[in-house]
């Protein structure tokens, strides 16, 4: 039996229905024409791309948005931020500030930093201990100089869902654009208002049972974007390069099969099952919210050394921080939420999906419990906690922590 997979937030398995559709476009020896070609096969490929474009936008409730295909969410985030920044500078706009929560994905943080080349200034917004954007921080930062506010609808490390509706109202009232990274939300959250308030919205196929190497940026027609990749002028010149028809068809098929409400409830039950198992270990800090996305549970184990935990769990398919920046130190997301380094480092992200079973939850819980107990048995920090010291005092935390 293979080890249980609890890293869906890093990437998901391909849905068999998606694999079947993609196989139709990848038969050995049969060419799939370039959709830019004007012969019948090219026109057929073009039609497939057009259908996929409409299907993805429809799945997101963004029928009136436009869509540009990218290699994934990272490129789409870069196009949203840098493309907007470049276009604003070309028009001589006075809006020159970018706002983004400190918990954003590195694709957004790094792109915002890179936007300085267009005269932009990036400013991070504080988040509360529960990972939600601090409303006061946003209110204080918003004014007529803000060009764009970037926010992840579902945080990739904690599963925390931002109050995008309320944020969008404020952002639009200030005349700024709202860029939403929905890589973890698409297909999982069903409230169309969560997506439709975005002026620019980013999705990725492989985060939701589709193929790796394809994503999209959806944007309102009124948004002005400059191209970041130049070449043959495909996609109205916004993103040159031959379109990968099998990947595009696969992404559209994945988005045609969102998680049903009952599947969401099933995953929520698994989330609760795992949380209960972790809570039984005691001294477990919850880095996720009860009302977060049901596919991500992030917890920190007090009294446990992070590097040692990673060592003992080396064969477990779980996440430690973001898989996209796993070589770095303690998670910048958890640090922004006020977790001290030692606690952030001892955090584990469990992310589950439509192929996860209750038996797999039991198996991973057993493995993690064994590792945590082994390390706590030799930990002077855990002994002190057992003797009655609070986690807050031992870890020098000023904000109260939510225990699992």
């Amino acid at each position: 039996m293979s080890a249980p997979y609890f890293d869906y937030a890093a990437t998901t398995p391909l849905d068999p229905r998606v694999a079947e559709v993609m196989a139709d476009y990848q038969r050995p020896g049969e060419p799939v024409a370039n959709p830019s070609s004007i012969h019948p096969a090219g026109l057929e490929a073009h039609r497939c791309v057009e259908e996929a474009d409409a299907a993805v936008r429809h799945a997101l409730g963004l029928d009136s948005h436009r869509l540009v295909w990218t290699s994934g969410a990272t490129e789409a985030d870069n196009l949203a931020i840098l493309g907007t920044a470049s276009a604003l500078r070309a028009r001589g706009s006075a809006r020159h500030r970018l706002l983004l929560p400190a918990t954003e994905h590195s694709a957004v943080l790094a792109a915002a930093k890179a936007a300085e080349q267009y005269g932009m200034k990036a400013q991070t917004l504080a988040v509360r201990a529960d990972g939600r954007v601090c409303p006061d921080s946003l209110d204080a930062a918003l004014d007529e100089t803000v060009a764009l506010v970037s926010i992840a609808l579902v945080n990739n490390e904690t599963g925390v869902i931002q109050d995008v509706g309320s944020i969008a109202e404020k952002v639009h009232a200030a005349g700024a654009l709202l860029h939403v990274d929905a890589a973890q939300a698409a297909g999982r959250l069903h409230d169309p208002a969560l997506f439709s308030s975005a002026d620019l919205l980013v999705v990725s196929a492989h985060k939701f049972y589709g193929p790796k190497g394809i994503g999209a940026l959806c944007y309102r027609p009124a948004v002005r974007l400059d191209a970041m990749i130049h070449g043959g002028g495909q996609q109205q010149g916004l993103r040159s390069g031959t379109l990968p028809v099998p990947l595009i068809a696969g992404m559209a098929e994945a988005f045609r099969h969102p998680d049903s409400p009952s599947e969401g409830e099933r995953q929520r039950a698994l989330w609760q099952q795992l949380r209960r198992r972790m809570a039984a270990l005691e001294g477990v800090v919850l880095n996720s919210r009860e009302d977060g996305s049901p596919h991500i549970l992030n917890v920190a184990f007090a009294g446990v050394h992070g590097e040692a935990l990673r060592g003992l769990l080396a064969n477990c398919m779980v996440g430690f921080g973001s898989a996209c920046s796993s070589r770095e130190g303690p998670s910048h997301v958890l640090r922004a939420m006020g977790r001290p380094d030692a606690l952030a480092h001892a955090s584990v992200r469990f992310s589950l999906g439509r192929f996860t079973t209750a038996e797999a939850v039991e198996e991973i819980a057993e493995t993690v419990a064994e590792a945590v107990q082994a390390l706590r048995a030799v930990s002077p920090v855990w002994r002190e906690l057992q003797a009655g010291a609070s986690i807050e005092s031992v870890y020098s935390v000023t904000t109260p922590l939510n225990l699992a």
Binding site: G303, H305, E307, A308, G311, L312, L313, P340, D341, A342, H345, T367, E370, A371, A374, L375, A377, V378, S379, P380, V381, R383, A387, V394, Y395, S396
Partner: protein, 122 residues
């Protein structure tokens, strides 16, 4: 996860069940990513029991367990001669663990210099 630590070293990790009669020392800080406590029980000129508690990397845990095994039954003078550098070189640990070896040395020295714990539980 099985086999991550030899049983003979495991016996020298963790706090003693009854700390009375032990000398307890500590070094390092949680904020510095390594904290080590050392418990030694002396009998005349020898170390009758040695154990360590470690909040550190797996290498640090293994080093401490190994050292506890080496020193149990050894003369006090041998324990006093232990240095972090010797420990790190003996086990050929990584560069990061070399720093943690120094913390283990400090915890051992702190324990050797401490008073005996009188009665009571841990």
């Amino acid at each position: 996860m099985q086999g991550w630590l030899d049983d003979q070293y495991q016996a020298h990790l963790g706090a003693p069940i009854v700390p009375a009669g032990y000398r307890h020392g500590r070094a390092g800080r949680l904020e510095d990513d390594c904290r080590v406590d050392c418990w030694v029980r002396l009998d005349n000129e020898c170390l009758k029991a040695v154990c360590f508690e470690v909040f550190g990397s797996l290498e640090a845990v293994r080093m401490a367990g190994w050292l506890g095994h080496q020193l149990t039954g050894a003369p006090i003078a041998r324990a006093e001669a232990v240095t972090g550098r010797w420990l790190a070189e003996s086990l050929a640990v990584s560069a990061v663990a070399k720093t943690q070896a120094l913390v283990i040395e400090d915890a051992l020295r702190s324990a050797l210099a401490a008073e005996e714990v009188k009665g009571g539980g841990c």
